[in-house]
């Protein structure tokens, strides 16, 4: 097996597993998502927190490196506010519109188009005005 094929197999497996899990949990269901954000039902909130704890425990016990992460720049907070607002009104963090489409919600294509336009716009805005350092090399 070549080195080009191997990452595709691994990524394909984890992509499929993520889509399957998100669909079985209900992240593509707007009613469930709104119930999570308004604490009307704690199931998905606990899922999110529990996933962080599970991954954290695995990283802590089975890895030795402790990456410090990307630098904190002036764009983190406004970017997170924009993302949180967009997630709440469209139901789409970047993987969720794909999950919604896989469940049969055709308008999710419009959310995906919006995400693509937003990402292209941000790169231009960052090059021209913001100059935020995303710290890609530190990830």
């Amino acid at each position: 097996m070549t080195s080009t094929v191997r990452p595709h197999i691994a990524v394909a497996f984890f992509g499929g597993a993520l889509g399957l899990s998100l669909g079985m949990i209900g992240f593509g269901d707007f009613a469930e998502l709104n119930a999570m954000f308004t604490f009307g039902d704690l199931r998905m909130f606990l899922t999110f927190c529990g996933a962080v704890v599970v991954a954290g425990a695995l990283f802590f016990f089975f890895t030795s490196d402790r990456p410090k992460g990307a630098p904190i720049h002036r764009g983190i907070v406004p970017g997170a506010v924009l993302f949180g607002t967009g997630w709440a009104i469209s139901g789409g963090c970047p993987s969720i519109p794909i999950v919604q489409l896989g469940t049969g919600y055709l308008p999710a294509v419009v959310t995906m188009a919006g995400i693509a336009v937003g990402m292209r716009a941000y790169r231009k805005l960052n090059a021209k005005y913001f100059h935020f350092d995303g710290g890609a090399c530190a990830l």
Partner: protein
């Protein structure tokens, strides 16, 4: 119709995916970065060619790197690139953090779709529809206004995730599970904002 997973089942699934992705693929698990690579496929394709050039021609690599830096950060960055010491004519080491093929990023997104479709078939929820369901219509907007609302929401997600440097998988699960300060800050802000906006949508608007 099958019930959704209990919280502990979902937590185990997402937590182990986050960990084993990092261990086997050698990169932080993050969907928005894959999105961005696919959206900017021309630039990313050029970056892949850069990697190849770097292995054989250091001068051409430096020139191409300056061009890519100008494209990313604007003309102000040219002084930084010029001031940088010349590259040694040795190929950069290939580490576990080496760039994934662009097609692998596309594979991730396509397989999320395949996985979600499989889940919808398994739990009996697959239904082709031209709306976003009754909850979206009740809580956010109904009728033709749905289309611009989804588009604007998507634009906010696209700009926001790139400005904040990650999304619910990259910052939320990968970064928070490793207690990285930037991820803890970003996650608390985007989740807190989503709580406020969702509450306003549900109870006020």
């Amino acid at each position: 119709m099958m019930a959704y997973w209990d919280w502990w089942m979902g937590a185990l699934a997402l937590g182990t995916i986050t960990f084993f992705y990092h261990m086997l693929v050698g990169r932080r698990f993050g969907v928005s970065s894959s999105w961005e690579r696919v959206v900017h496929w021309k630039v990313e394709k050029r970056a892949e060619l850069l990697d190849d050039i770097a292995m054989s021609d250091a001068a051409a690599f430096q020139a191409a790197l300056q061009e890519a830096t100008r494209a990313e950060f604007g003309d102000d960055s040219s002084s930084v690139a010029v001031a940088a010491p010349p590259l040694q004519p040795t190929p950069p080491p290939v580490s576990e953090s080496a760039r994934l093929p662009l097609s692998a990023s596309l594979t991730l997104l396509v397989m999320i779709l395949v996985g979600a479709f499989t889940a919808a078939i398994i739990n009996g929820r697959f239904e082709l529809r031209t709306d976003m369901g009754p909850a979206f219509a009740d809580i956010v907007v109904d009728g033709p206004l749905m289309w611009p609302t989804l588009f604007v929401g998507g634009v906010m997600v696209g700009i926001g995730t790139r400005m904040a440097g990650g999304c619910s998988s990259g910052h939320g699960m990968s970064g928070c599970s490793r207690l990285q300060p930037v991820s803890l800050l970003a996650t608390s802000v985007f989740f807190g904002t989503a709580v406020v906006v969702s509450t306003l949508l549900l109870k006020v608007i």
